[in-house]
Amino acid sequence: MAQRASKKSADPAANQESAQVVKDLHERMVRIRLFETEAGKLMEAGRLPGFLHLYVGQEAVAAGVMAALRDDDQITSTHRGHGHAVAKGVGLREMYAELYGRVTGACLGRGGSMHINDLTRGMLGANGIVGAGVPIAVGAAFAARYKGEDSVAVTFFGDGATNIGAFHEGANMAAILGLPVVFVCENNGYAEFTPQSGHMLLTDVADRAAAYGMPSVIVDGMDALAVHRAAADAVARARAGAGPMMIEAKTYRFYDHQGVKGLRHPYRSAEEVAEWKARDPIDLLEARAVADGTATRAELDDVWQRTRDEIAEAIAYAEASPLPDPADLLLNVYSG
């Protein structure tokens, strides 16, 4: 049975959290939110090619986990990877430039949304194949241990992804090899348009960890501090050599599976959407921060404003960037 950490976050102990951490989480979340809402607008305006799987609503998970990581810790991500990349510190300019397909992009315009990566930040890539990032993170953790480093690897995946073989194989592999991998399931209740109840019989994805002899914990994925505490524990555990662990963060996506379309869609009831929106992870953190005096409204607003400016600048950079040269079609197919 997975441990439930969600309770903890209602605990008065939460108030002890250092103001530093709260501000860090807030900043990461705001960056993600603005990056994504602006990307959504650009897409609606027909300015971006390809697909976008927006992360809006799930910011507490990326922020909470990434705040527990070092630059040399590695992550593997999913089709819904912008939030992870932003939170891990990938440059906004390079990210937008990539969405625009510019040569200054994170993938030189070759990869697009689903392949954003930054090796200097330990971002081992978004991934277009559901579940495929899981074994890759296991390999990254293997390399860290092999080289005698104490970095860890974190792999993000959705509720739907836990039904694919690569997840199962990767989890068992990490467990039997005792590798420093943290498995973060972002359970947003849906795999595309199929509710969790339509793709598995379990209520808690975390219960799958037991099949690998792996401990697990369930957190409120709208509560950045709760996620952060759980992640810090799991990361510390992994770093200390105690092996992998799974975190299930219960969360929700505020936009459609792909694109922005809006919140309501036949597959989700208006009530359900409203309930989750009422627990917007940024609102929650801000309200708490203001209530307990960790930050003033003005300070928080300042973060939004600074980030807005940075985003506008990044978009302008992307738009001004040159396109790749078709003469370079074969660039980087092979090394050497």
Binding site: R110, G128, G131, G160, G165, E192, F193, G198, P324, L329
Partner: protein, 341 residues
Amino acid sequence: MTIVKEAPAAAPNVVARKLTYVKAFNEGLAQAMREDENVFVAGEDVAGYGGVFRMFDNLLDEFGPRRMIDTPISEAALVGLGVGAAARGLRPVVDLMFMDFIGVCLDQIVNQAAKMKYMFGGALSVPLTITTASGAGLGAAAQHSQSLEAWLAHVPGLKVVMPSDAYTAKGLTVSAIRDDNPVVVMLNKVLLGSTSEVPEEIYGIPLGQAHTARQGSDVTVIALGRMVGEALAAADELAAQGVEIEVIDPRTVQPLDTETMFASVRRTNRVLVVHEAVTFGGLGAEIAAQIQDAAFDHLDAPVLRIGAPFSPVPFSPVLEKAYVPDRARIAEGCRRLLERS
């Protein structure tokens, strides 16, 4: 684009009606389901949502949850479900959404579905249809844009069809479902919204029979899937310059109707093969190898292949456009063939 349409045998009074490629597919599937109670559909978001490409729209309403099955993201189990159900006499249609995902379930397709009849000494058939969307052109990048027909056509026991327009999307799908073998239906994503005339009643298109989409005497162009339309456009352009291109649409790439190709080449003496897949190891290689053998003494120039360069599919539209073959490259290829004495 004009395609010589085969009138279905049983339909003398068909009124010309245009349908999109995806609607034609959907109509063929629905009719095949009406025709045979043993046909059902399984896949990710095929029932409640109607498929991410709208391929399965309205089918849940008509056929209900017994015959329209939403599955978890488990492609190996999904194809396996189809194999087991087919082995027990049903006619499953399983959908793989993007063709690029076959890497996670190829064992079930290649080692199970395709070989089962043979390995079992003929004890059963595996009338399984696998539908999937292939092709580049939507900025979907390297893991959502591939054309992998060369892998599948190399597998004894499989059949593979590549509809090139709405008419074939319907007819080949119906034939795939009626066929007693595992058949992969490779729809093309860019064509989904394209229209052509489609008869209303159910009809099949014989598997393994190529179609001469345009007759011409100067160069034979053999084009796969979406490239058929590009070849026809190139032919229009060249016709204005007095060059007559014959366009052959194999429709089925396994089995491959090479006789139609040979006959054409023996008349035109020049041939170009074009597909979206990377040239190296693509189906064009097999076609070229067979033609240079069967029509050795008839060729005035080597068989010319046009495909994608040897790279993953790039994301940036400016690169993707340069990557995928198009009418301009086909026309230029034809001109090059004609220059060769």
